[in-house]
Point group: C2
Chain length 506, copies 2
């Protein structure tokens, strides 16, 4: 049952592509390169949904993967300007690092991408006070984001010229402009961009300076296809093109006419590597965490969340709902526990630092008010430990996924994939996962504490037959829509459009 | 030239309506009633754009104007349940006060209307932290907003049953539900609702609890026509109906099919009473303020803003832009002055209190850093004095109107109407006034300090011939689109739709 991992389906991609070369471009690459004590360069595969999903396509197509050099070691590798086989011992694809000078990278990444674009795309600015665009912002745009996108584009164009009609797959909000600059350098490649985060509606997008939002939209429209996590976010992008750029939209075909080219706007909900996740979930490290967790929480109903400590994840309102639950149903005290397994993130950004402090204060307050000598209502972990999270996900009764807005939210898929407890998913209506998982989860408005508390109560008191049915539906949905399908649909659209254009002589 | 006041055009309304009765419903009515020392009830006409505009239609049609009793005197009048001729000495229309018990009114007004709906419609929540919907919010909705709308609706239905096919004109975000309840009580009247503030896009509207946003949209769709300040906001409403309610939209006709009825979504940009404003601007009180102002600011270029001290007005970013201007062009020091004539507002709401403190701190900081012994860069007035504001508007060189979002913004129209200085309007692209005044003002992104500072510099250094041309265009636009036209277009659509329906036998 759990054997439908990516290894099995990989050949399909090879056949589908028929030897067409693929170039992937993303800010962060598939590996971290370091120098060991002997002075040799060693590598370690990176984590995260993007890397997992794109690794499948890289291996199947012997792709070239272009990403930013992150460390001094990587910068020196980037300067050599050559391709690096990866993994080292059995190279399946090539990595190419781009040397982005530190000051450019800092502006591109720490001033523009996070926080500015991230906050815009998740609707989390406090508009009365933030953002304010100053000379520094405009400079960070021109000398940071634009400059970095040009460097990525130059590297992509150079690799592209070595190949025959390659497909270039650009990833996420770091690279909104790259397609346009690549197109200026070479018209050969097929350009595809996928946005992993939400796309905001025009009024919110228009918070960005006039020039910035125009460049972003025009940059996106230099692609042949742009992909989004959900039909809703794809629709928001179309509205932005219409309303902010005055572009002509074909709503039936969901395409944009722009500079005598037709750009297709498509939906590809990202997913997890189901087979691989199962393998991890049965590993010794996870089993060790599991034993500990079960011992410490015997006879407890477990509400679990695991997220980066990002304000968009809406962690505090989750605690507020739990507080209401305990106040209204004190019989749960001593019988339920909330495990919040958080990963520290972006601590250089003021809003994140403040949010972390607020999380800690809220937990302390709830534990003090509701706790007893032998019972702590909330266990808060602030540490990057993926394996502990997986161990916990195997045993939740309730999984809380209540982001303010979220591109997809892979925890909502990882949880049901590994959970052994017929646990219930509480899911924000603003997570991209809604369209696939909404039918079997309990949907909540993330701002509605009352509704979230009621959802927790309902989940904790749900009859077993209903829990079983819901959990089975979720598991099946996640199993069927794995990350390989996500890639497969993208490549199918790309190849299909290329063929159509060839036939039509465009 | 300035004679096209409302008195001249009023007969048109009478003719257009052909004796059809009109009922106006708004939270705040046209008058404040008090008891004088002798124990008699006296009245004072209220201010504000809504009252001014709706007074014209009330007088022309001998309307019945329904509004909430605000004081104990008014509550005791409301209990008598009769119509009050107004103005007392020469009754032209009737006022009917509704007794809304204090606890209901408090929840309806101070918990739901302001701040919840106001903040949603202006995009000014800080979503990581606010709003959070608790038991109290849900209670304030049901026992406050819903209850108050029912009381307004009952009063309107009762008055309606006394008349033959009346037109009921519901005003603004306090009364989103009234049409639905009126329709439950009587199917006779023609129902029209006008939203004076912005209408948000679906993602932002969906912040509201599921039940709340559904009730609001369904309440609005109980009208025959709903009116908005701009085509953009009307479009946002249509998107909300489509996306949040699943209603069928006819985008060509800009109508919504709902429960076998067709609801038309129309745009009526509100304006000022040009003639009356001119009369006021020539009054002795204004002339006195004017003399003082000119004496105190001789030889100064004046940047002026006048607003309620509402966070949506974006007052602090205006000062930040001025700060940049003075830093970058120190030659302006001692030659320019920023008059911020603000009205304290909603001081019971935490966000407003905080915003006022921030305004005062920002002004103090800028005055300290840039000021000199004989020159204070910013003069801040925090007092409700409309006549002083009018006096100042006559003499601005630059009028700053940079709201975050704004339904229309009447200051952007009052300023050009009375200004004698060929002053330049700096206008936020998110003000409803943009579509009428954008061509002749300097448009800015309200979040872009750099752009706003550049706009100030450009306005202060603009050649006289360009100032004259722009000011003349603005004046002409404002003069032609006066508040009577606003009412006229509404009534024309209402009468036209009624006739069409009669002919079609609907």
């Amino acid at each position: 049952m759990h054997s439908k991992g990516r290894r099995q389906k990989a050949p399909n991609l090879t056949k589908l592509l028929d030897n067409k070369p693929v170039i992937i471009v993303s800010n962060r690459g598939p590996a971290e390169f370091r120098r060991n004590e002997a002075g040799n360069i060693t590598s370690k595969r990176g984590g995260g949904g993007l890397v997992t999903a794109m690794t499948a396509v890289s291996e199947a197509t012997h792709a070239t993967w272009i990403s930013a050099a992150m460390t001094d070691v990587e910068r020196s590798m980037a300067k050599k300007d050559n391709l690096i086989g990866f993994p080292e011992n059995n190279p399946l694809y090539n990595v190419r690092l781009v040397d982005i000078p530190k000051d450019i990278y800092n502006r591109y990444y720490n001033t523009i991408s996070n926080p500015l674009l991230w906050f815009i795309h998740h609707y989390i600015w406090d508009l009365c006070n933030t953002p304010s665009f100053t000379e520094e912002t405009h400079k960070a745009w021109g000398e940071g984001y634009v400059a970095a996108n040009k460097l990525f584009a130059e590297a992509a164009a150079r690799e592209s010229l070595k190949l025959k009609n390659p497909i270039i797959m650009l990833q996420d909000y770091h690279l909104f402009l790259a397609a346009r600059y690549i197109r200026e350098l070479t018209s050969e490649p097929f350009l595809f961009h996928f946005t992993h985060i939400p796309w905001p509606e025009p009024d919110y997008m228009s918070i960005l300076p006039f020039k910035v939002r125009h460049q972003i939209l025009k940059g996106m429209l230099a692609n042949d296809i742009v992909g989004f996590q959900s039909r809703h976010y794809a629709g928001n992008f179309l509205l932005c093109c219409e309303s902010l750029l005055g572009a002509q939209i074909n709503w039936r075909k969901r395409s944009v006419m722009w500079q005598e080219r037709e750009v297709f706007v498509r939906t590809y909900p990202i997913s997890i590597d189901y087979g691989n996740l199962h393998k991890i979930s049965e590993s010794d490290e996870v089993l060790k965490y599991e034993t500990k967790l079960l011992k410490e929480n015997a006879d407890m109903s477990l509400i679990i969340r695991t997220d980066r400590s990002d304000p968009s994840k809406n962690i505090i309102r989750g605690f507020m709902a739990y507080d209401v639950l305990l106040s209204r149903h004190p019989n749960f005290k001593g019988k339920v526990k909330f495990l919040a397994l958080l990963y520290p993130t972006r601590e250089g950004i003021m809003e994140y630092k403040k949010y972390r402090r607020e999380i800690e204060a809220t937990v302390k307050d709830i534990n003090e008010r509701h706790g007893a000598e032998n019972w702590q209502p909330i266990y808060l972990r602030m540490k990057d430990d993926y394996l502990e999270s997986i161990a916990a996900l195997k045993h939740y009764d309730v999984l809380l996924v209540n982001p303010i807005f979220d591109g997809m939210n892979l925890v909502a898929k990882e949880g049901p994939a590994v959970n052994k407890n017929d646990g219930i998913l509480i899911l924000s209506e603003n997570a991209g996962a809604l369209s696939e998982l909404g039918n079997s989860g309990i949907i909540v408005n993330p701002f509605d504490i009352e509704e979230t508390a009621a959802a927790m109560y309902r989940a904790l008191t749900m009859p077993m037959y209903e829990r079983k049915a819901r959990a089975a539906n979720l598991r099946e949905t996640v199993e069927q829509n794995n990350s390989l399908k996500w890639i497969h649909y993208q490549l199918k659209d790309i190849v299909g459009l290329e063929k159509k254009r060839m036939l039509e002589g465009v």
